[in-house]
């Protein structure tokens, strides 16, 4: 249940730490972001050690939701929750900005064809 205004942790190593969701890119009326959804975020906090020149507070990026605290139910009946709300940043071309994702990339990411993110993630679920 990610909505406009939700603060997200950034789980890749692009240099951003926190970002705020400002738009959920869905056509449905109920704009609640779930795992695997594409959103637009504005950066709130960046890691001072990494990429301070390129990433600044207030920059806009497209991102993919990877983990949500709200339980996600799958077609096979299983459901799962995560400890935090997190996303991974995408470049303007749609490829991941970081080179590593610390955390899980769920199966829904594969369904939405973000295959590069799946490869980068430490574990898949």
């Amino acid at each position: 249940m990610i909505q406009v205004g939700t603060l997200l942790a950034i789980s890749d190593n692009s240099g951003a730490k926190k970002a705020k969701c400002i738009k959920i890119l869905k056509k449905t009326k109920k704009n609640m972001g779930q795992v695997g959804d594409l959103i637009v975020v504005s950066l709130q906090e960046t890691n001072p050690k990494n990429n301070t020149k390129t990433l600044k507070k207030g920059q806009l990026f497209k991102a993919v939701l990877l983990e949500t605290k709200r339980p996600k139910r799958r077609q096979d009946g299983t459901s799962y929750t995560f400890q935090r709300n997190s996303a991974a940043l995408l470049s303007a071309q749609g490829s991941p900005l970081g080179t590593r994702v610390q955390g899980t990339a769920p199966f829904e990411v594969r369904e939405k064809n973000f295959m590069k993110l799946l490869v980068l993630a430490s574990t898949t679920l």
Binding site: G77, S79, Y80, T81, R84, G103
Partner: protein, 166 residues
């Protein structure tokens, strides 16, 4: 489909039941129902909660480390389909279940009987040590009541006499 074990109470999780919690270090915790999930959220230790299987095994209340339970094991290598093997396992399932229930029942009966014996010996010792407190119930009580009546009567008579003298 794989039947997982609950992280908290170690009962089987059937398809469509329970919830899986993914920690930040991507460790999975699978729960069979909200009761177990809530207890996990309250940071309870399953070894200290009395209704879990771990607790009962630790306290020696349930049968564990038996050869019957070794059939149920996590196997990561899938078997190639073979009709004979499937048939034999299916026919063996009922027998195994019967053996398991018989052994667990026997274990339970033995445990309860042993506890009963221990309690009997303990009670006997208690009585022997405190034999002074034991009274042959009927006679003792009758005597007591009579005596107390007498005392009361005596007291009232003395009062009566003293008033008369005045």
């Amino acid at each position: 489909m794989r039947l997982e074990k609950c992280w908290f109470c170690s009962s089987t999780i059937y398809p469509g039941h329970g919830i899986c919690f993914v920690r930040n270090d991507s460790k999975l915790f699978k729960f069979c129902r909200t009761k177990c999930h809530k207890n996990f959220k309250m940071k309870r230790n399953p070894r200290k909660v009395k209704w879990t299987k771990v607790y009962r095994a630790l306290q020696g209340k349930d049968l564990c480390n038996d050869t019957v339970f070794q059939f149920e094991r996590r196997r990561n290598r899938p078997l190639k389909y073979n009709r004979e093997i499937i048939n034999s396992t299916l026919s063996a399932l009922g027998k195994l279940d019967a053996i398991r229930s018989r052994r667990t029942n026997r274990f339970f009966e033995n445990r309860v009987n042993k506890a009963k014996d221990v309690k009997f010996v303990h009670d006997k010792q208690l009585i022997e040590q405190n034999i002074g407190l034991v009274r042959s119930s009927h006679n003792g009580r009758m005597k007591d009541t009579k005596d107390s009546n007498k005392i009361k009567l005596d007291a009232s008579m003395t009062l009566f006499h003293s008033k008369q003298e005045e």
